[in-house]
Amino acid sequence: MSDICVRFTAVSKKYPHFLLDNISLELPAGSILGFIGANGAGKSTTIRILMGLVRQDSGAVEVLGHSMPADQAAAKQKIGFVSEDMRLYGAATLAWHMSFVASIYPDWNQAYADKLVRRFDLKPQQKIKGLSHGQRVKAALLLALAHQPRLLVLDEPTTGLDPVARREVLAELMAVLADEERTILFSSHNTLDVEQISDRIAFIDRGRIIDFADKESLLDRWRRLRLVVPATAALPHLPGIVEVGGSDRLPVLTTSQFDPSVLSLCTDRGATVQAVDTMTLEEIFVANVQSRRELQPA
């Protein structure tokens, strides 16, 4: 078995009003990939292709060594999947769901399931229709976690959760990662969650991967610079500028290719560097999407 858990190679899928365009991704075992995109960017389509629920028009998808969708039955034994539109049976209890899922997956771990019931503060005898949104998400996550999948695929797992439930879910995801053979891919538009726990980040916009990098180097190369440019000097040309704001004399520049040499480029041209600000993942994502959309309107 290779150390690559998920591999997309030039995957495309065309719909009448949407094109998933040439997606390539690699996710090593033992890491967390945070998949960030606006609504309609292609996150869910990508995840459905990954799960074998939708067949790609072209390109190859390999999950845990299985080719998708051809080999999906074997792959799904080792995948835990939770998505927003996944429904549990309203009239049945959580306990019923647990024994149902346990009957499908040979690796179901009842002791772990019981532990998660307590940790998520759920009641096994309660019917699903009586659960709040947060409790339903936690119930679905419990069912996915307790069969100890090698790969967890979560479509918007923290959306709509209250702060306490969000903490519980994130904590449980990190606990999974204590085992270095296990891998998580999760999509979210909550960039804070992604920034906190992801090792790798993929930005998707309008059906294309616009950035795919390990989180530390991504955060490292984006900076916002505030400069003071004297009337006699001109704004220096810097690498990787995606946004220019502020005024001529007090420009605010956003760069995606920062390194310390950028600062000497500024001072050499007579400008003073007032501040070099790090950016949050959300700011990076928005700046990235906006600059691309300006360059290439839909």
């Binding site: 890491s31 967390i32 904590a171 990190m174 606990a175 920034e195 906190q196 530390e216 007032q274 790090t278």
Partner: protein
């Protein structure tokens, strides 16, 4: 053992630097003794609930600075170097001075004013010490 490290997403300081700062402080005050084994990258990531790659980066930088050593397959340890603590304080001082200079400049203070404020701070420290000795 390591639950008292806290990282904030809102401090504006990258998380790997926050982890480095706090590990250095633990070593400087003796919470983690020279040569002692420290949590593995994955253990610390799980307990802090931050990504493995962030903790890995903090450990790599700490290794580069000679604060910790990692033995492949055995784990990570505080470096045995006894001259470690003064250097850590030295670095901390340099950081604080940088920050003070930055803040002073952004408040529009002149070089003279910043130096004057530092002198005042030094005076205050020695005054407090005198008062303590006299009381």
């Amino acid at each position: 053992m390591h639950s008292d490290i806290v990282v904030s997403q809102f401090s504006g300081r990258p998380m790997y630097l926050q982890i480095m700062d706090q590990i250095k402080q633990k070593i400087a005050v003796g919470d983690w003794a020279a040569g002692e084994e420290i949590p593995s990258i994955r253990q610390l990531a799980v307990s802090l609930q931050v990504s493995v790659i962030t903790v890995k980066r903090a450990y790599l930088e700490l290794e580069r600075e000679g604060v910790i050593v990692t033995q492949h397959g055995k784990g990570s340890f505080v470096a045995p170097d006894p001259a470690l603590s003064p250097r850590l304080y030295e670095e901390e001082l340099a950081q604080h001075l940088d920050r003070a200079a930055e803040l002073g400049t952004s408040l529009g203070m002149t070089e003279k004013e910043i130096v004057h404020r530092l002198r005042k701070a030094v005076d205050q420290v020695s005054e407090t010490r005198l008062e303590k000795e006299n009381s």
